[in-house]
Structure formats: C-alpha cells, structure tokens
C-alpha cells in the first residue's frame, strides 16, 4: 500500500475508500469520518482507518444520512473556528443528531470516537460528561504524549492490554478536561477513564484524564491524536513499545484495529 493509493477528496459526499483485500471479513464494513467546516484531521482519520485494514466513508456534517456506516469518527480540528466554545456549534449539525441517536442504546449501539475537537463535540452533545477549557498554561501545546490505556474493553481500545502505555501526538489549546468531583468519581468508579496522561499532566486536566467513555463503552473521546501515529515515517519519534526510528511510532493504530475487530465480531 502506498500513499498514492489513499488519495481522498478534502470534503464532499460519501467516498468509499475500499480495502485492497477482496476476501477480507472487513468487506462491507465501513467507518464514517465526519467533516465539519474547520475540521483538520478528517483525512488523517480516513487514512488511519484504511491503514488498520478497514474502509472509510467521508460524511458531511450538514447531511441527514449516516450512509449505513458501522462506526463514526469525529476528527480533530477547529470546527466552526471554535466560535462560542469548541464544539458548541457543531453539536447542532444535522448529522450530529443522527450520530447521537445511533450512539445511544447500549453496547451494540454505533461505536463513536471523538478525537480532540471531536471529543469536545461529544461533550457538548452530552454523549460524554465533562467539558474542555483552555489549557492551564494558556499555550497551544504540540508534543508527543505518553498515555496509559486504563480500560481495554471499550469498542476502541480492545487491541491494547489494560494499563498498556502508548505514545501519540497531543496538539491543542482547549485541552483541559474538567468536571465536578461527583462526575469524576463516577468516571473512576465505573472504569470510564480510558486514557490517562503519564509523565506529567500537559494541560491541567482533572486527575490527569486524557480520554473517557460512556457507560456502554461504545462512545470514546480523547484529546491526543491516535490517527497521527499509525504509519512508520509519519508518526512520533518514540513509542511506548521500545525504540523506534525517526517518526516511527505507530502506537495509535490499535484504536482503529480495535473498532474493526469489534465490528466483525
């Protein structure tokens, strides 16, 4: 597979990016990636799905149809320029209503992953609790970040072992996860802290929380970017699995293989 095989249009209607392998059990399984005005990492998410062996469908926020996708990724970026609050306006996009409906209803409901701005959209949509405010140091931060996967039973983390560590990029300005203590206690008690920052808290997030899930485990949101650590040559310079070459880190790929594994049973 070469980079040239994975050309995708920047935005537009559903554009299936077919898997190379015709005999794959993943045939017919599609993961939708939503594009809002201001999304940045939608194409990276499409690539990540493809590199994990799946087929990606690009979805437009103004659409009313999920095009029968089997899972949805809400990518990073600055949807609506972060106007009002990050994710606040995107939450009311027509497609978000469809996603919210399909994502509710237990463990077999639509798997949804929100990355960075996508996580912010999911909290604004009340699919996940808490909210994100400006980083405590007020700076935009961009660095490779070590995380611990504390729940390896969600739809998006089953490829990891519990308490396995990963290194993936973190890049945001409004990344400080906040919630009241009761909510935080609930998240901890129910095992819904999926990712926690290791080796220092980069933004003041309560209890070092980097990512959480809903009760059923089908909806997961995280601030760091697994889709930027899926392909050797384009990832971080380090990996929690040991030494890697320059830009050789691919610790994020498991997020995408997890959901594909879940979808094919």
């Amino acid at each position: 597979m070469s980079a040239a095989d994975i050309e995708t249009p920047l935005i537009g209607g559903p554009q299936p990016v077919a898997s190379n392998n015709d005999d794959s059990p993943l045939n017919g399984v599609t993961v939708g990636v939503v594009t809002f005005p201001g999304s940045l990492d939608d194409r990276d998410a499409v690539r990540a799905v493809r590199l994990a062996g799946g087929s990606a469908v690009q979805l437009w926020h103004g659409d009313h149809d999920l095009h029968e996708v089997d899972a949805v990724i809400i990518p990073g970026g600055f949807s609506y320029g972060d106007y009002l609050r990050a994710g606040a306006i995107s939450r009311f996009a027509p497609l978000m209503e469809q996603i919210a409906r399909a994502a509710s209803g237990g463990p077999d409901a639509l798997p949804v992953l929100g990355i960075c701005n996508g996580f912010q959209v999911l909290t604004e949509a009340h699919l996940l609790p808490g909210s994100m405010i400006k980083n405590n140091h007020l700076h935009f931060i961009c660095r490779d970040q070590r995380l611990r996967v504390e729940n390896a039973e969600t739809s998006w983390t089953s490829a990891y072992a519990r308490d396995e560590e990963i290194v993936i990029p973190l890049k945001n300005q409004d990344g400080q996860f906040v919630a009241d203590n009761r909510t935080l206690d609930e998240l901890e008690g129910e095992g819904r802290v999926v990712f926690r920052y290791v080796d220092g808290n980069p933004n003041g997030s309560r209890r070092d929380i980097a990512g959480i899930s809903n009760i059923a485990g089908n909806v997961v949101g995280l601030m760091p970017h697994p889709e930027h650590a899926v392909e050797a040559g384009f990832g971080p310079d380090s990996s929690a699995r040991g030494e890697v070459g320059v830009r050789g880190g691919t610790d994020g790929l498991g997020i995408f293989t997890s959901v594909l594994k879940k979808l094919v049973g």
Partner: protein
C-alpha cells in the same frame, strides 16, 4: 430595536485561565488594586419588534442550551434593553 442581553460567566469553582492571565497583565500597566479577574461573555440578541414573553423565554432557552455550557458556565443575566445603552 430592543435587545436581550445574556451574560455568561465561568462557574466560580472552575479555574478561569484567561482571567488569570489578564490579572497577571494588570500590574504591567501599573494597576495593582485588583485581587483577581474573571472573564465572561456578553451576548446581545436583537429582536425585530416587541419582546414578548415567548421571545424572552426563547432567549432563556438559548442561554442555557447554546450560549452557555452548564458544566463550566453560569448564565448570570437575561435582560431586555430597550434603547441604546441601559
């Protein structure tokens, strides 16, 4: 045209990083009389015609659903202003 003013403030228990940065800048211009700063938002909803009870109710609904996030912010004012200024 009458306007409805909506004020939104970060919840008291939420650290306000922007307010803190502003508080840090005040002494730089020689203003040392302030113990703290909190930064909020003011929205002005212009109404074409009379502000009926229904319109005011819509403004309150907008304030709590779209204009603020109840996890991190409080709506501190929803008030009609008839003329320019107060």
């Amino acid at each position: 045209m009458p306007r409805i003013v909506v004020d939104v403030m970060p919840k008291p228990e939420i650290l306000d990083p922007q307010g803190k940065a502003i508080a840090g800048a005040l002494p730089r211009i020689g203003l040392t009389g302030f113990a703290g700063v909190r930064q909020g938002k003011r929205f002005e909803l212009t109404v074409d015609g009379e502000v009926t009870a229904e319109v005011l109710e819509q403004a309150r609904h907008a304030a709590t659903t779209l204009l603020s996030n109840p996890v991190i912010e409080d709506v501190t004012r929803v008030e009609v202003i008839e003329e320019d200024g107060q």
